[in-house]
């Protein structure tokens, strides 16, 4: 067997792909031929070195990614065979999507709310007012009122023998003439409308000569409506009540 033939068979010999007879011949030849012996040794060494390279460890990051992929693949596989898993996966996806949508909003929203509360809390002592709750400037008067009429200065409910400002709950059937007066924020009559009856001279006198106090909202004068009601004698002219618009 020539050296060329032996060297061709050396790798096949290492793979166990030669017959017993060829194996004997090759080993016998390499025992006596120095060059072929070196060739066999180098082939064996090459094989060993290559085999060692199989032990390359998988990087941790790759192993972790593969596990995540396997987990997702398993979920997909389960979703194919089970409706319950599919529904759960869908719900989880929706939940995740909602979370992802809310995440950019949640932090600014919470931060803004907390900082607003904090700043408002810090500013609260400096916002205290000197007046009391019952102060006229700070109170809301939903209804304007008649301060005086042509016949009386400084109308006072106690000074007359019937209530000047009647409650709106009182039945309207007791009155013959009812007129709504629109009072602006300066206390002037800007409009009137007849609800029932007619515009009598007494009511005209109230409109022209009466003094009115406008309605207020948190102490700020605003327009409102005063209802003037006139009954038949013995009541001379007014039984009034007021409502406020706006």
């Amino acid at each position: 067997m020539s050296c060329e033939n032996v060297q061709e068979l050396i790798f096949l010999l290492l793979d166990g792909k030669v017959s017993a007879e060829e194996r004997e011949n090759v080993l016998a030849h390499t025992g006596v031929c120095r060059e072929c012996g070196t060739h066999l040794e180098s082939a064996q060494m090459q094989r060993v070195l290559l085999r060692r390279m199989a032990q390359t460890p998988v990087p941790d990051a790759l192993a972790a990614k593969l596990r995540v992929m396997a987990s997702h693949a398993r979920e997909r596989q389960l979703a194919r065979v089970s409706v319950r898993v599919r529904a759960r996966r869908l719900a989880a996806n929706i939940n995740l999507m909602f979370d992802n949508l809310m995440r950019p909003v949640a932090l600014p929203l919470t931060g803004g709310l907390l900082s607003t509360l904090l700043l408002f809390g810090l500013m609260m002592p400096s916002l205290s007012f000197s007046h009391q709750t019952g102060d006229h400037d700070f109170s809301t008067v939903p209804r304007g009122k008649i301060v005086s009429t042509p016949w009386e200065e400084g109308v006072d409910e106690d000074a007359v023998d019937f209530p000047l400002f009647a409650s709106l709950d009182e039945p309207k059937s007791d009155y013959v003439n009812i007129v709504n007066l629109t009072i602006d924020e300066s206390g002037r009559v800007v409009d009137w409308s007849i609800v029932r009856g007619q515009l009598t001279d007494e009511i005209k006198s109230i409109i022209v000569l009466g003094h009115f106090e406008p309605a207020t909202t948190f102490g700020v004068p605003t327009s409102g409506t005063i209802q003037v009601r006139q009954s038949l004698p013995p009541c001379k002219y007014t039984r009034c009540s007021a409502t406020v618009h706006g």
């Binding site: 090459q46 070195l49 085999r51 390279m53 998988v58 987990s71 693949a73 997909r76 596989q77």
Partner: protein
Amino acid sequence: MATSILDLSAQRAVESADSDDLRLVESLRTGAAQAYEELLGRFQQPVYALALRLLDDPSESSDVVQEVFLKVFRNIGSFRGQSSLKTWIYRITVNEAHNARRWFFRHRRREVELDSDPEEARNWKDVIPDGCLSPFDVAFEREQHVMIEAALEKLTPIFREAVVLRDITDMSYEEIAGVLGVSLGTVKSRILRGREALRAELVGSLKDRPAPRLVPKTAE
């Protein structure tokens, strides 16, 4: 007689591996958690080693391994068992590595690596010395690895595939034929020529290196 007994035991081993594969595939189809664990446990390391030796680029190999397992997970339902699971997965790996190599040559040849020294990017657990090998042995093995890798890189891809599958992943000639989709004779030829080319490269690289010149000097 002895040969026939060996043949029988080899045949039994093949049958056992086939039944294991079918059981594993069936478990994967039902979504059993252990099956996914087993699949990764059996194949992630050899597939990574194969991809790394075919591409010689750790980051590219990681991408290829992920692609391989993605395809395996997606197509496990269509696996009919016509080849062994190992052959099927390795065939996907070789094809993916081939695609990656082509893509690399088209797009990334001129890219410059921005990563720092790979030694610095390693986990601290890998850096701490364990004292198993002496510094000389470590340096010697690393030198050998570098030489082999450089020699492998110079091989024609089709020879490299054959040599890597045979000598690194330890596949049989028949399995390699199944993975590469070529005849047994072609596999033998490619392995032989690949090994010879590798040996020639290694010998050449050793010859090119200048021998250390030690000059004796008397201490003054």
